[in-house]
């Protein structure tokens, strides 16, 4: 995996549990209905471990780390 990665989300799988926003608030906030709004751009190295924890902690496995260039 290249250095420049970002968070991707499967919007159909996401049920708005909101675990991700607790685990990595630097990258994710929740909208008025509890669904994640993901900060665009590369994940800073310092935040990457938290992002990985959010990915593995997602109850519906909707979150992923992907190359920055990937679509959505």
């Amino acid at each position: 995996m290249s250095d420049r990665v970002t968070l991707g989300i499967d919007r159909i799988k996401c049920d708005g549990h909101g675990v991700c926003a607790d685990l990595v608030p630097e990258l994710i906030e929740l909208d008025d209905w509890g669904y994640p709004i993901i900060r665009s751009g590369a994940i800073p190295q310092s935040v990457l471990p938290h992002a990985r924890r959010a990915v593995s902690g997602c109850p519906t496995l909707a979150l992923r780390i992907q190359a920055l260039a990937a679509r959505r």
């Binding site: 499967d10 919007r11 996401c14 708005g16 909208d31 008025d32 669904y35 679509r71």
Partner: protein, 406 residues
């Protein structure tokens, strides 16, 4: 008015039969070097996204896993559009020719003809057209009736329906060109686009380019509705303006302040600016507009843009596939608040809320349904800003006296 796709017998005569089609246009030419020719022709997709056709075909042809499939998309869920169903009713053999050519070009065998279930005339004509074809072609053509639903025509939804009987979008990746019908690389192409291919293959890219202007080649089908004598399908040369299209449709029947360009996924444009716009994908895109699937709807005088926008949002919220949270809940909430504003019953903060919420919709669904709704609403804020404020602040509508919201 007939130029290229609609040249030949007039619409009143119904579908052009296979024998007449062949007599008029000659036999189906071979697809030799067709992708390169399509590329030079400048043909763009006519389903809404205006994606370069040759690029799409190459991405299917270059897949390694499995024999590709062609899905001719005649779902046409956009309520203001008539072009795909009318084209299929009048020139089904152009669509079938284009689908066969596409199949040869990308190495596909099977072709799915995907037609909106409510387009009865189109389905009938396509069925008849298929039955007129030689057995070797008939064996490759499969007609599928698409459920009546706005999202049915979205390309992953079309593939999902053919595979599993569920006309709802799926998450990407994989995109249909990677894994589509039966898990095979699938070219999903709008039926009008395929009809253009049938002519480009016969008459060449130079001919096609000459029908348009530099940077926008060929012709395009437009549905003109609203403040015109009647909703009508026209074919225009690229480079023609919105005013040209409206004039061909018979001219406006009332003064008009705004035009809905591109349909429900398009946006409002002030009439004073709209008339001079060329109906070509790229220049429109640069100005923040979209031709979408070729809809021009002129808002008649006596109709309020805020009310019309609320009505469209209500439709789009109802038509959400309800698979993704931001679309299910965000669009529903936006629609409800817009309905209150339109009906002069807004609660404090409604206008600010829908402005904030609409900025949060784009890019947050598996498909572009929320993006389309957000774009429409943003254009409405720009064009009808005074009317929104009047509705929200003073509970008045400058156009419609009653509290009528459809």
């Amino acid at each position: 008015m007939s130029i290229a796709l609609l040249a030949g017998p007039p619409a009143a005569q119904g579908m052009e039969r296979y024998a007449d089609h062949q007599r008029r246009l000659g036999a189906l030419p071979p697809a030799t070097e067709l992708i390169a020719s399509i590329e030079r022709s400048g043909l763009r997709g006519k389903g809404g996204a205006a994606f370069p056709v040759a690029t799409k075909w190459r991405s299917v042809a270059s897949q390694r896993a499995g024999t590709p499939v062609v899905l001719a998309n005649g779902g046409e869920g956009e309520p203001l559009s008539r072009k795909d169903r009318m084209l299929m009713e009048q020139r089904p053999h152009l669509v079938i020719d284009g689908a066969l050519l596409a199949a040869t070009a990308v190495g596909a065998n099977d072709i799915v003809l995907y037609i909106g279930a409510d387009h009865a005339g189109a389905m009938q004509a396509m069925q008849r057209a298929v039955s007129e074809r030689p057995g070797s072609e008939r064996a490759r053509l499969r007609l599928v009736s698409a459920p009546v639903r706005y999202v049915s025509g979205e390309e992953t939804a079309a593939v999902h329906f053919v595979n599993a009987g569920i006309a709802l979008p799926t998450s990407i990746p994989p995109r249909p060109f990677e894994r589509g019908v039966d898990g095979r690389p699938t070219l999903v192409q709008n039926v009008e686009t395929l009809a253009h291919v049938a002519l480009i293959a016969r008459f060449g890219e130079e001919w096609y380019r000459s029908l348009g202007v530099a940077g926008a080649s060929g012709t395009t089908l437009i549905t003109v509705g609203g403040a015109v004598p009647q909703t009508v399908l026209i074919e225009i040369h690229q480079g023609m303006t919105l005013a040209d299209a409206v004039n061909i449709a018979g001219g406006i029947t009332s003064e008009s302040d705004a035009v809905l360009l591109g349909g429900y996924f398009g946006g409002w444009v002030e009439s004073s600016r709209a008339w001079g716009l060329s109906l070509d994908a790229d220049p429109l895109h640069r100005l923040g507009h979209s031709l979408g699937c070729g809809v021009v709807a002129v808002l008649p005088s006596g109709r309020c843009g805020v009310i019309e926008t609320a009505r469209i949002l209500a439709y789009l919220a109802h038509e959400s596939a309800r698979q993704c949270g931001p679309c299910t809940f965000g669009l529903r909430a936006i629609s409800a608040a817009a309905g209150r504003i339109a009906g002069l019953t807004s609660t404090p903060g409604d206008l600010e809320r829908i402005q904030r919420w609409s900025g949060l919709l784009a890019g947050r669904g598996a498909c572009h349904h929320p993006d389309g709704a957000a774009g429409l609403l943003a254009s409405a804020f720009a064009v009808f800003s005074g009317e929104f404020t009047l509705h929200d602040d003073q509970r008045r509508c400058s156009i419609v006296n009653t509290q009528a919201v459809a």
